[in-house]
């Protein structure tokens, strides 16, 4: 058990480090996937199988796919990206140190001591999590859902533009089309020129 934990956490730390150090952004994204995967493994060791699988399902299966999708299409000049490293270093390290201090302050104190959620193996972890989310924490849960909904709607309104060159078609109209709307049958008299030529001969 301990061996598995140390194995997973070393993979997690290594891949997290490679996320910020690798030159190729696609590699960074793939290492982030690997670190999510190892984190899910560690959660499994804590017997939080729902959270572990949800992490894989949501972050690895959906979010990172879209990330990769975008990153792969970017044409990034690596040399240009590396240029400003030393200029940004002071400001970046200042932010990093403040974040480190904040994390130490929070993690040292017992803010994280919530009621004991460790469930006996007879009760499914998924059941337990569901009943807690929908009873004790219903308000924060719903607020989080509404914030996500607002984010979705705003993202769509920011990107959706109705331009004149939009060739979108209405499928209902397409289905309604009848033969008479598209084809016009014309009854034409046959050409007479050929007959004249024949007469001359």
């Amino acid at each position: 058990m301990e061996f598995i934990f140390y194995f997973l956490s070393s993979v997690l730390l290594f891949s997290a480090l490679r996320v910020i150090t690798s030159q190729n952004p696609v590699y960074s994204a793939l290492f982030l996937v690997l670190s999510f995967f190892s984190a899910a493994g560690i959660w499994l060791l804590l017997q939080a199988e729902f959270l572990a699988i949800a992490l894989v399902l949501v972050y690895v299966g959906a979010v990172m796919v879209l990330f990769l999708f975008v990153i792969m299409m970017l044409d990034i000049n690596l040399n240009q990206m590396r240029k400003g490293f030393w200029d940004y270093l002071p400001a970046a390290s200042f932010v990093a140190i403040i974040m480190l201090i904040e994390m130490i302050l929070v993690l040292n104190k017992s803010y994280f001591e919530s009621p004991n959620f460790f469930t006996p193996p007879t009760i499914s972890n998924t059941d337990e999590l569901g009943s807690v989310l929908y009873s004790d924490y219903i308000l924060p849960f719903e607020i989080a859902a509404i914030i996500l909904l607002v984010a979705i709607i705003s993202a769509i309104t920011l990107t959706l533009r109705h331009t004149k060159i939009n060739k979108n078609m209405n499928p209902a109209d397409q289905i309604k089309v009848k033969k008479n709307d598209r084809i016009k049958m014309i009854n034409m008299k046959s050409e007479t020129r050929l007959k004249k030529v024949k007469d001359k001969l």
Partner: protein, 339 residues
């Protein structure tokens, strides 16, 4: 034999026992994949008024083995400007989840490799990471066609996964469990108790989304031969190409297996007087697999924007409505219909 092993070398014997069980699942799976390709060529052949393979062995029965041998001995060509590591990682990433998902599939009561409680979630997670193989294959090949194919496939799989996940939510509302064995046992009591009846729209949506998830016709725009040559695996040859093929067919069997377990009662017999058993499951899976082949022979390829429209604007609203409908019906006196 088993007892002796467990008494003397508890942990080692345990590991060997698990490996034996894995082999007992994977080898029949590989053989079914091989003969599914044969079956597909025969079925589509007869549908198009041809005979299909009939030269190697009786009725062409050795054709899949001949194909496998041919692919094994072919050269694997590595494009010069490709990303070598990711190029070879991609087929592995495609086949690994396709096999890993089989760990929680029950074939009969107790006949399952890992009887975990969150089995359904595990399968959803495994099928959702299969898309990485396709994306990485397209990017690592350094080819425009492959890249276009992988982008199409990524967008398609992410979209249809949502509809698929929601239709499974309906199943677990009925079964009150995420454990696949429990879901099957919740349908015991004959044909009328199967979840296909209360969840009929979800079954249809699940099956169509499954066709889209496995990149099969009519949703095979990821490889669309007429537009982008062979899509994401255009640069692959020999065994590397065969691995992609293997994963596609293993995934087809997997999603048919899931549909049979969750909507068609799994190994349960449709009538009381015939005993239950694994053969029922295989008959149901074979029946569903036939649909995959039938679709391929019948439907023309979907246009890409229509695929997206179908997923987002038709399937997701229907599943959302049906989940709410089931939830409401469960509070009424008719709840017996929905278990």
């Amino acid at each position: 034999m088993e007892d002796i092993l467990f008494n003397y070398f508890p942990s080692a014997a345990n590991i060997i026992w698990i490996i034996l069980k894995i082999i007992a699942i994977v080898i029949p799976l590989m053989i079914s994949v091989a003969y599914l390709t044969y079956f597909e060529r025969k079925v589509i052949g007869y549908m198009q008024g041809r005979i299909g393979p009939n030269r190697v062995g009786y009725f062409g029965l050795l054709q899949p083995i001949a194909d496998a041998l041919k692919l094994m001995f072919k050269e694997i060509i590595l494009p010069t400007k490709s990303n070598k590591f990711l190029f070879f990682l991609a087929p592995i990433l495609t086949i690994a989840p396709a096999f890993a998902a089989w760990a929680v599939i029950p074939f009969d009561i107790g006949l399952v490799l890992a009887d975990v409680n969150a089995g359904l979630l595990y399968i959803l997670a495994m099928t959702s990471i299969a898309v990485y193989g396709v994306i990485i294959a397209g990017w690592a090949s350094n080819s425009k066609y492959a890249f276009l194919g992988s982008l199409r496939s990524a967008a398609q799989i992410v979209s249809y996964e949502i509809a698929m996940g929601f239709s499974l939510v309906g199943v677990l509302m009925c079964a009150n469990s995420l454990n696949l064995s429990q879901i099957v046992l919740g349908q015991s009591g004959g044909l009328s108790q199967w979840y296909i009846w209360p969840l009929f729209p979800l079954f249809i949506i699940y099956f169509i989304s499954a066709v889209a998830e496995t990149n099969r016709a009519p949703f095979d725009v990821a490889e669309g031969e007429s537009e982008i040559v062979a899509g994401f695996h255009v640069e692959y040859s020999g065994m590397a190409f065969a691995v992609f093929f293997l994963a596609e067919y293993a995934n087809m069997i997997l999603v048919s297996m899931l549909a049979a377990l969750m909507f068609l009662g799994g190994w349960l017999s449709p009538v009381e007087f015939i005993p239950d058993g694994a053969p029922w499951l295989f008959v149901k899976v074979g029946f569903l697999l036939f649909f995959f082949l039938w679709f391929r022979a019948t439907f023309p390829r979907y246009r890409y924007d229509q695929i997206m429209r179908l997923g987002w604007k038709v399937f997701i609203p229907i599943t959302l409505f049906w989940i709410v409908f089931i939830g409401i019906m469960m509070q009424t006196p008719y709840q017996g219909m929905f278990h």
